[in-house]
Symmetry: C2
Subunit: 348 residues, 2 copies
């Protein structure tokens, strides 16, 4: 896949994140685009107008987190075999985070791995999930528990696609931007507090800052042996919320927003976060209409669900907690009663 240079591109060790209008893309082999009917209706023409390849096929999958499963993977593989893709073929993930995760996985196991590129069309996928090579599907034990690391050959971030994104999805994407700022980038956090979103350049600048932050973290720790795990702030709680409420009730970013509030309560109790900082994060989430409340039905079973999460090793739960704003820390030795106390606050 070739495309023109661009001064805003962000270079990672093994691929480039291209920022701005979709450039002309060419591929010598066959290409299979995977998207959903909605994105296809809105933007497939734009992609096709910029794509040149030996043969181009399109496979659509249903929209939503609940379809992030083996059945959808099998559908993509069937399409790839039916169109006789080979080891020189390319898959394109064209859509949101679910499509990116699924296509990364499917391309990673098709004939023991072929190339894929990410063309994310949602804010969440643009600022977060399209970068870093984490791929996977959900099962009844939890989120993203089956998958692999498979780095894309390139990522194309075209903010123009966001013009058609529903407000709710845009807000859910902002939750991941806020997450990134709380963990790693205090000045981004302050920009978000003062952002004038009626100015179109503001969103562009925020997206760019968020991707740059993510790219730096991923470049440092591709396979999440250390610091990259900090990006899971809010996710340890959020994944359980998504699963318990049935995938699809909350958007992923919304569940992460609630998860951040839960993590913050724990951070408050451990004096890692001040009440003022906690309030500032809450206010920012609420500003983007991200839900910040959740009713836990059963505190003990919520606690037990931590142990199925990939972040929980050796029967210890590794909590990712903000340490002030712009800093993050890992805590593995928090006594169960303290965690239960915090969960209890959400059970009232």
């Amino acid at each position: 896949m070739e495309s023109q240079a661009n001064p805003l591109n962000i270079t990672l060790p093994s691929y480039t994140i291209h920022f701005g209008d979709l450039p002309k893309l060419t591929h010598k082999g066959k290409v299979l685009i995977i998207t959903n009917p909605k994105i296809a209706g809105l933007h497939l023409q734009t992609l096709l107008a910029n794509l040149e390849a030996k043969e181009i096929y399109c496979h659509t999958i249903p929209d939503g987190e609940s379809y992030k499963n083996f059945e959808t993977i099998n559908g993509i593989l069937e399409a790839a075999f039916n169109h006789r893709l080979d080891r020189h073929s390319l898959m394109i993930a064209f859509g949101g985070g679910v499509i990116g995760d699924i296509v990364g996985f499917a391309s990673g196991i098709f004939m023991r791995g072929i190339d894929f590129i990410q063309i994310p069309t949602t804010l969440l996928a643009q600022v977060d999930s399209s970068v870093g090579g984490k791929t996977g599907i959900n099962n009844h034990f939890g989120k993203n528990l089956i998958g692999l690391f498979h780095q894309p050959k390139a990522v194309y971030i075209n903010p123009t696609f966001l013009a058609t994104l529903p407000k709710r999805e845009l807000n859910a994407g902002m939750a991941e931007v806020i997450k990134m700022s709380v963990c790693f980038n205090k000045s981004l956090f302050e920009s978000l507090q003062n952002a004038d979103m009626t100015n179109p350049n503001t969103l562009l600048e925020i997206i760019y800052q968020a991707i740059s932050t993510k790219a730096k973290v991923v470049a440092e720790d591709e396979k999440e042996h250390g610091i990259r795990a900090a990006l899971n702030y809010g996710h340890t709680f959020g994944h359980i919320i998504e699963r318990q409420s049935g995938y699809g009730t909350y958007l992923h970013g919304e569940a992460v927003g609630i998860g951040m509030i839960m993590a913050n309560q724990l951070a408050l109790k451990l004096n890692l976060l001040s009440q003022a900082e906690s309030n500032a994060i809450l206010t920012l989430l609420q500003h983007y209409q991200i839900p910040t409340t959740y009713r836990i039905q059963n505190v003990e079973s919520f606690y037990q669900a931590f142990f199925l999460d990939k972040k929980s090793l050796n029967d210890k739960i590794k909590f990712i907690l903000p340490n002030g704003i712009g800093n993050v820390c890992f805590k593995e030795e928090i006594p169960k009663e303290i965690v239960l106390e915090v969960l209890g606050e959400f059970a009232k």
Copy 2:
């Protein structure tokens, strides 16, 4: 996983092949052994007597190539989640080639990849499939079309396990040894011709030579961008035979044996192999009671099936053909009519 040093060990860039009696194995985390009921009955006690870990679980899968599918993978993943394996856990593939391929795949996608080791109990798995990190499953399009490269942390070759191996499976394993010798090791080929199999040390020496040959090829080309593909000699035809006859009719090694005969016919026609060399390979295969005849029902559909094989890129079939004994070459431009002519000889 730790074990003692041994002068017969073969060291690959990322792991060691241990040769001889199973040493004491220790692992700090949880271990999930995957085997089949037959192997469990014969050898599980031996493994358990040599294994120390935090917790040890055993999951059995049905025996046979026809179970090398997503359903079996899902069963292993379910067991892993039920026993709450984590990223520090280990899977052990304890059995033949099917178990090795499946466990390599399952461990490669469980929580985005955990460690696994190979303890092969069949000749075929010991000399060939346990080394090199190719993992995968079959689907209705063909063999090993879905999978990934996932290198084991270690391979333990204990020829003692072969004492209980049925003669037919031992012979099928010899097909892969013969394959290796024809492609890469003329002196091994000559040893095989003169082998006195009533001497127990002869088999040991042959196994050792075969593994060493395989290890060298894999070390040179881990992801099969070049020379490693030569190990697929006989497989381009063999995979189609396995699929067309229904997985389970022929053992994998048997289908490869027939495939070698087909490849040899093509090599003869192209003057890569002499009639005497071709006969010598045939005689050796027959000596180990490996089937060397097959009736192709439909020559054209057999030909079309090549294009679904991973080795066939860009609508060209890459044939792997012996170039004398101990040498191998790739041919991509063989006219269809010549291939059909050779296939026609098997349709009579």
